[in-house]
């Protein structure tokens, strides 16, 4: 879909782009180093040949057991050129801090909050780094693979229910 954009990105950042390939279904993917993600994004947005003016989806993946443990996935789209590109950024567990791209795309604001809330990846330079889905009292990041599946953290005391066919209470494992 956007071989030209991928090629241009590789030429411009030979060090930052570690790998580039076309996945099944024709998606063009580039693996980018964590340190240079902001620079790469700024280039992709401002360059008239790529012109990615929209970042419709940013999410994270937890590959527990491998290094780097987390991976951020930036899906971007150009409304003027009508092409798409996907960036994958490995994030190590020891230092889960990435530069924010919210100053570039305002739409990235809640996606980055989502990644902080559910995966615990912090974004430097984000204007409002709060949880998105869970409440402020919540401890931990529930979509991490090492978070307990039923680790409920109730806000108010729950009534006792003696029902053998029901799932365990708030903190059941």
């Amino acid at each position: 879909m956007s071989q030209a954009a991928l090629q241009r990105l590789k030429e411009r950042f030979p060090d930052a782009v570690t790998e580039a390939y076309t996945g099944p279904g024709g998606d063009d993917v580039a693996l980018v180093k964590k340190e240079s993600i902001e620079e790469v994004c700024r280039f992709l947005k401002s360059d008239p040949e790529t012109a990615f003016d929209m970042a419709p989806y940013i999410t994270a993946v937890d590959y527990m057991g491998s290094e780097p443990r987390f991976e951020l996935v930036y899906q971007m789209y150009s409304t003027t050129r009508n092409h798409r590109l996907r960036l994958r950024v490995g994030v190590p567990e020891s230092d889960p801090v990435v530069r924010s791209v919210t100053p570039l795309w305002k739409g990235a604001n809640w996606y980055e909050r989502y990644c902080w809330d559910l995966y615990g990846i912090r974004f430097e330079g984000h204007p409002d780094m709060r949880r998105l889905y869970m409440y402020e009292e919540f401890v931990g990041h529930p979509l991490r693979k090492d978070y307990s599946l039923r680790g409920r953290q109730p806000l108010i005391p729950e009534r006792q229910v003696d029902e053998p066919f029901r799932g365990p209470g708030p903190s059941g494992s």
Partner: protein, 181 residues
């Protein structure tokens, strides 16, 4: 409770006056129950997809109005039937508790759908495993979502329950203090 007098210790011997009074109370209770079961003002606490089915029940084809339970009040102060329709998660539980506490007595609660009844298949970090862990529930309606016929059946069951409950014209009992939260 006031201090116990000697009269309280005397074994209960029903006099004709007490007989007559309790008969009257029974009649009043029956009448009040009849009136209350046919004028259920409901507060729809709709959080999820079951709401669609709830609308179908309230609309013309199934017509909840036939049972006197059609008029939704969007203030808990004016409602006496709390319909919890859909998944309630941990973040919402204090809100549900607060809505329940703001309703005036007498009040009833219906758990609509399997998520409200038991958490359904959402046995995860975010979902309350049945709203009866938060507030007492009178009728559970299973189904994902329940058929409108099931809902009507649940409403009829609730009406029977209300009719069988004792009702008083004036209740001098102190209401239970609302839970914190």
């Amino acid at each position: 409770m006031s201090a116990t007098s000697d009269l309280d210790l005397v074994p209960a011997i029903a006099t004709r006056r007490e007989d007559a009074l309790s008969g009257l109370e029974k009649m009043v209770s029956k009448g009040l129950g009849w009136a209350r079961k046919y004028s259920l003002f409901q507060y729809p606490f709709v959080t999820a997809c079951c709401g669609m089915e709830f609308m179908a029940v309230a609309a013309a084809r199934y017509d909840l109005d036939r049972f006197g339970a059609a008029l939704p009040r969007f203030s808990p102060r004016q409602a006496d039937l709390l319909m919890v329709v859909g998944t309630v998660n941990v973040k919402q539980a204090p809100i549900l508790r607060r809505v329940y506490d703001s309703m005036a007595d007498p009040k009833w609660v219906v758990a609509f759908g399997v998520c409200a009844s038991s958490g359904g298949f959402y046995d995860n970090y975010a979902t309350v495993q049945g709203i009866d862990r938060i507030i007492p529930v009178d009728v559970y309606i299973p189904g994902c979502p329940p058929r409108p016929e099931q809902v009507l059946d649940g409403i009829i069951l609730l009406q029977q329950k209300i009719q069988d409950q004792p009702h008083k014209l004036i209740d001098r009992e102190k209401p239970a203090l609302p839970a914190k939260g």
